[in-house]
């Protein structure tokens, strides 16, 4: 057991650091705006794409890719080391999670050689940013309940429907897309997977206003969108299997990074009066903080164990669902607790608020829903990790258009 890098890992980290140091300075001169609240989403996308271009040119753009597509075929662990170092200097690299973490492995696994040649270079060189058109109003937890239809028209497909909760749709160039091509067969069997140019006629992106008041996600309306059959990944009717590749990779891509707000809650407790002293002096507050810290440390250490798995060439399993489950619920209650510590002043928001709590009180609502609700995560853990039987399915062998939908 050793928490430090192996000699090889340390060497790779050193190389990564060195390249980053050399390049970030110059990059920031060329793109002189500060990363922060004042950067619009499109500026951020532009910046992220320019940075990808720079990495690509330096040989750090597609570390795990096959050499055939311009990659270096390094291990996931080495890629993670680079990502760790990169995160310290370039906070916007995360804009590529969907592109590199989800679209790329799916294209590589299910695309033809021609599709790979056509789609991958413009990703590698920072030309195109991608988003993911999966969820729909009636297909969230039940993702296979997708209703967006694709109908064959000669060599093209005509697509109609609505997607929802699409991160980055408003700044993306291309997208991965799952649609229903046959509603008369069982629901998992009638889906097909496509790639699509977001500038195609008939694609309309509208921001969603969240319960928090912010807008990070979009609805995407698809009206008579025409795409050639050559943009289909894998066979007609194989969409569910292809989507599984995307989702398996989502888990790996999204895995590590999270904020556990331990420092923030300590800060609130230290600076807020309670009784004759400060909240941090109150034994009840202390016990609650300890309860959260123990969970946060658990998640941090789970993350380290996952890295260790990567280090040995393994792939993180569905255990990653644990982190999201614990964080979602935990951070919501932590935010509420921080407001409680502030007492009557806990109602204040934005500039008038103390601490991060009033923002997270709302934002964490979404954390328990996006990328798998608490309930779906518990299903995943109990079925895929613990091996318990699946829920009884009433929609399994029923043609999709005959599945009860309440409509």
């Amino acid at each position: 057991m050793d928490f430090n890098d192996t000699k090889e890992e340390a060497q790779f980290r050193q190389q990564a650091k060195q390249w980053l140091e050399e390049n970030i300075v110059q990059f920031k001169q060329e793109f002189p705006f500060e990363v922060g609240d004042n950067v619009t989403d499109s500026q951020a996308a532009e910046l992220a794409k320019a940075w990808q271009k720079r990495k690509f040119e330096g040989g750090w753009g597609c570390l795990t890719w096959p050499k055939a597509f311009g990659g270096r075929e390094v291990s996931i662990m080495e890629a993670t080391i680079f990502a760790q170092e990169e995160a310290k200097v370039m906070p916007l690299a995360g804009m590529y999670i969907i592109t590199s973490g989800m679209a790329v492995p799916t294209i590589m696994t299910h695309g033809t050689e021609e599709q790979c040649k056509q789609l991958l270079p413009s990703i590698a060189n920072g030309e195109r940013l991608w988003c993911q058109l999966f969820s729909e109003p009636a297909a969230g937890s039940d993702l296979a309940g997708i209703k967006t239809r694709a109908v064959k028209d000669g060599d093209d497909w005509i697509i109609n429907g609505q997607k929802v909760w699409t991160t980055l749709a408003h700044v993306s160039d291309w997208a991965i897309l799952v649609v229903r091509t046959d509603p008369t067969v069982a629901k998992h069997k009638g889906l097909t997977y496509f790639v699509i140019d977001m500038k195609s006629p008939g694609v309309e992106v509208r921001p969603i206003k969240q319960a928090s008041g912010e807008s990070e996600f979009n609805e995407v309306f698809l009206t008579d969108v025409r795409i050639p059959d050559s943009q289909r990944l894998d066979a007609v009717g194989n969409g569910w299997r292809v989507a599984m590749t995307t989702l398996m990779n989502e888990r790996v891509a999204v895995g590590g990074a999270f904020s556990d707000n331990v420092e923030e809650i300590l800060e609130v407790a230290r600076t807020t009066p309670l009784g004759q002293g400060r909240a941090i002096d109150d034994c009840g507050v202390r016990q609650s903080i300890a309860d959260w810290y123990v969970k946060a440390a658990g998640l941090k250490n789970i993350g380290l164990r996952q890295l260790s798995t990567l280090s040995k060439g393994g792939v993180p399993g569905p255990e990653a669902s644990v982190s999201k489950l614990v964080l979602g619920i935990g951070r919501q209650d932590l935010a509420a607790m921080s407001l409680d510590i502030l007492d009557m002043a806990g109602v204040l928001a934005e500039d008038d608020a103390m601490g991060w709590g009033s923002h997270d009180f709302f934002r964490t609502i979404g954390n328990r829903l996006e990328g798998g609700t608490d309930e779906i995560l518990r299903n995943i853990i109990s079925e895929r990790v613990l091996g318990l039987p699946a829920e009884i399915r009433v929609d399994k062998d029923v043609p999709f258009n005959q599945v009860p939908s309440g409509a």
Binding site: P137, I208, D343, M344, G346, V347, L348, D352, P404, S405
Partner: protein, 373 residues
């Protein structure tokens, strides 16, 4: 033994519910939440006309002279409909304070106007983040002049008068009556998590005030009584949030089934119901204690308050969760209850303060009469 509201009180409830269904849809709430409006003046006027603002004011101060029980019924319905009006501030807090501690002249001066909605009142208690003990109270009254920074004050921008908690010449904390149009009053609107019930900072500089009454016991008596009325608002909101969740779980299909047929959802809703039932029973008991001014009032008030804060948080939070992604949209009403739940649980002090009061009351009770145990 009769532990239910009377037929008349239930009629009042039905009347209130019908009125609010018509005049206080969530669109009305959103109108205040999403704009610069501080409250819905039409609805406020409506509550005056319905006699709700004057329900518990004695007839000699031109009120209806009904009991606090009627006020509890009204509070529950106002909470249920998320009414964006200064009812709690003006009635549970300001009018109650005058009624409790005011001189005859003060009552004559303020109660008729508060009860008829001509004057809006509020309580200025908090002095910023945290809950320091009364010993650390900053607000000072010297020779009838108040110097204080009170923040946040609910309905502070629209209030005409405020009951201010401050330390007087005697060194004791007390309740002071401030006319907010007087000299030396500066106010600032604050951004907050539920702007359908807006908050303000009020700075008093040598502002002339009148003493209502002194002593920590008086302040706590006022807060205890208000806690019960706020608890009914919380109960109403929590109940509505559970209803929304049950309805959605019955209508929404996933995997070819109503999502309410999945145990994870069913059991979540069952737990919400359990919390709500306890809350309701605690509120009812507190209403009785309030109306009869039972010795049990402080304990019953703190119990109802903690119970209601917990129930509303749980029900409003899990209602969103049951709604899935749509629960996270601004468009859906679920977040309105979640916002209000937090604001109501923090007004007049958060759970920690009231749990502390539960235990200190239990300690007192143990010394004397038997407890609920």
């Amino acid at each position: 033994m009769n532990f239910e509201f009377s037929d008349e009180q239930n009629m009042l409830r039905e009347q209130a519910r019908a009125y609010l269904a018509e005049h206080c849809s969530t669109e009305v709430v959103r109108k205040v939440l999403e704009s610069d409006l501080s409250f819905d003046t039409k609805l406020w006027q409506g509550t005056v006309e319905m006699g709700w603002t004057s329900a518990a004011t004695p007839e000699e101060y031109s009120g209806l002279g009904l009991s606090e029980m009627e006020l509890c019924v009204i509070a529950e319905e106002l909470g249920r409909s998320l009414a964006p009006i200064p009812f709690g501030s003006s009635i549970y807090l300001a009018a109650q304070a005058v009624l409790l501690a005011g001189s005859e002249a003060q009552k004559q001066q303020w109660l008729p106007r508060l009860s008829h909605g001509e004057t809006i009142g509020t309580l200025a208690l908090s002095e910023g983040a945290g809950s320091p003990s009364y010993d650390l109270l900053q607000a000072q009254v010297r020779n009838g002049k108040l110097t204080a920074k009170k923040t946040p004050v609910i309905d502070g921008m629209i209030a005409d008068m405020a009951i201010v908690v401050a330390r007087g010449d005697s060194g004791k904390p007390g309740l002071y009556l401030a006319d907010l149009s007087a000299a030396g009053v500066e106010r600032k609107l604050l951004s907050s998590i539920d702007e359908s019930r807006p908050q303000a900072e009020i700075i008093f500089t040598d502002t002339a005030v009148e003493l209502l009454g002194e002593g920590q016991a008086l302040i706590e008596q006022l807060l205890d009584r208000a806690a019960i009325l706020f608890a009914f608002e919380q109960l109403g909101g929590a109940q509505r949030a559970l209803e929304m969740a049950v309805q959605y779980a019955s209508e929404r299909f996933a995997f070819g089934r109503q999502i309410g047929s999945f145990q994870a959802i069913k059991h979540k809703l069952a737990d919400m119901f359990a919390t709500l039932e306890m809350c309701k029973a605690n509120c009812y008991y507190a209403a009785w204690a309030l109306t009869t001014s039972s010795d049990d009032l402080p304990l019953a008030a703190a119990t109802a308050r903690v119970s209601a804060s917990q129930a509303y948080y749980q029900c409003s939070k899990e209602n969103i969760q049951v709604h899935g992604g749509s629960g996270f949209t601004w468009e859906l009403d679920a977040h309105l209850y979640y916002r209000r739940a937090k604001v109501l649980s923090l007004v007049i002090g958060g759970e920690r303060r009231w749990k502390e009061r539960v235990v200190s009351q239990l300690e007192t009770a143990e010394a004397g009469a038997p407890t609920a145990a």
